[in-house]
């Protein structure tokens, strides 16, 4: 595989010279290895496919009566506002009660903590997700992602109502 050739002493001067050695290394095994690796990767790589997040909307019932009623005590509303702000309150909006609006952000100590706390208080909670018109698509995807992260199975994506928008304006958050 390797060879060391010693140069014949050409009968130089009386001084002792160190024997010159030249080495030749056979490169064939390295090339074989490269070839094998290459063939392996040529045959086995697949291109990275984009990931998807599933979104299943409920079937729109024609008859209003058929839709399952949501209990006020179980509802929890999350509103995505502009500039990456997340508002939330417990319950649903009704003319009598004006719920207290709170604001948080998308960080790990923000809405995720809120959802987990809410679940500890009320295990049967159903989350209503209302994206404001001024929110961006990323906000919507982030909240749906939080549902996956916190293992929240019951949630619904609903249209924001004028009352909710007024609530945000009035609270000045």
């Amino acid at each position: 595989m390797a060879e060391i050739q010693q140069k014949a002493d050409s009968g130089g001067g009386g001084k002792k010279r160190a024997k010159k050695m030249s080495t030749k290394i056979d490169m064939t095994p390295m090339v074989d290895l490269a070839f094998l690796l290459l063939t392996f990767f040529m045959l086995t790589t697949t291109f990275a496919k984009p990931n998807v997040m599933q979104l299943t909307m409920p079937v729109k019932e024609k008859n209003e009566e058929e839709q399952t009623k949501l209990k006020e005590s179980e509802a929890f509303t999350i509103i995505m506002g502009e500039a990456n702000k997340v508002y939330y309150y417990a319950g649903m909006l009704s003319p009598e009660s004006k719920p207290e609006l709170k604001v948080t952000d998308y960080g790990p100590n923000g809405i995720r903590q809120v959802i987990l706390d809410r679940r500890r208080e009320q295990p049967k909670t159903v989350i209503l997700i209302k994206p404001d018109d001024k929110a961006v698509y990323k906000n919507m995807v982030d909240i749906l992602d939080e549902m996956n992260i916190t293992n929240q199975k019951k949630y619904a994506l609903v249209k924001i109502s004028k009352a909710d928008q007024d609530l945000i304006k009035e609270s000045g958050l």
Binding site: T28, M42, N51, M57, V59, D133, Y137, N148, I149
Partner: protein, 195 residues
Amino acid sequence: MTPMVDLAFLLVTFFMLTTKFAPDETVVVDTPSSISDLKLPESNVITLTVDKRKRVFFGVDAPETKKLALQRVAAKYGVNFTAGQAKEFANLPNFGVPISQLGSLLDTPKEDRKQLNEQQPGIPMDSLNNQLIDWVLEARKANQALFKKPTYIAIKGDGMADVPTVQQVIKVLQERDINRFNLITDLENKPVAAQ
């Protein structure tokens, strides 16, 4: 040195015979990230791209489905397409123009089309002129007729796209009983949520 040169030669030949250029995307969209690691299906996918300028683009993967859908939608809107235009259409990955402008888009040569991409207005989806739903329905029917397989609807939205446009797309699809969507996202690591 000879084996190395042989190897290089083999490589070059292999790639010369097997590379296909990726089709030029009409619009570059920056999708948001999510922890979901489900993969986009390989085939039978209709892709609706929503960019931050509120434009909606439509694309479907198989060229045959594209051709058949083009014929049907053209028939519905009373527009005619030549065989050459239909062939160009089958090579387009996606498009975002109302059907009235589709003919002129297909007639422009490929190099010039890139500049036009910036100006494509998107496919209309208002209730009076809902071309988007027509494209989606015809593509589904065409795919069913040609391949006997149902299609997946993938929504590729830009992170900064506005929510009302995406909601409108979803609403338009729900009106025709399409309730399952896949939102295309980048992968992010799943954080640990303390219970």
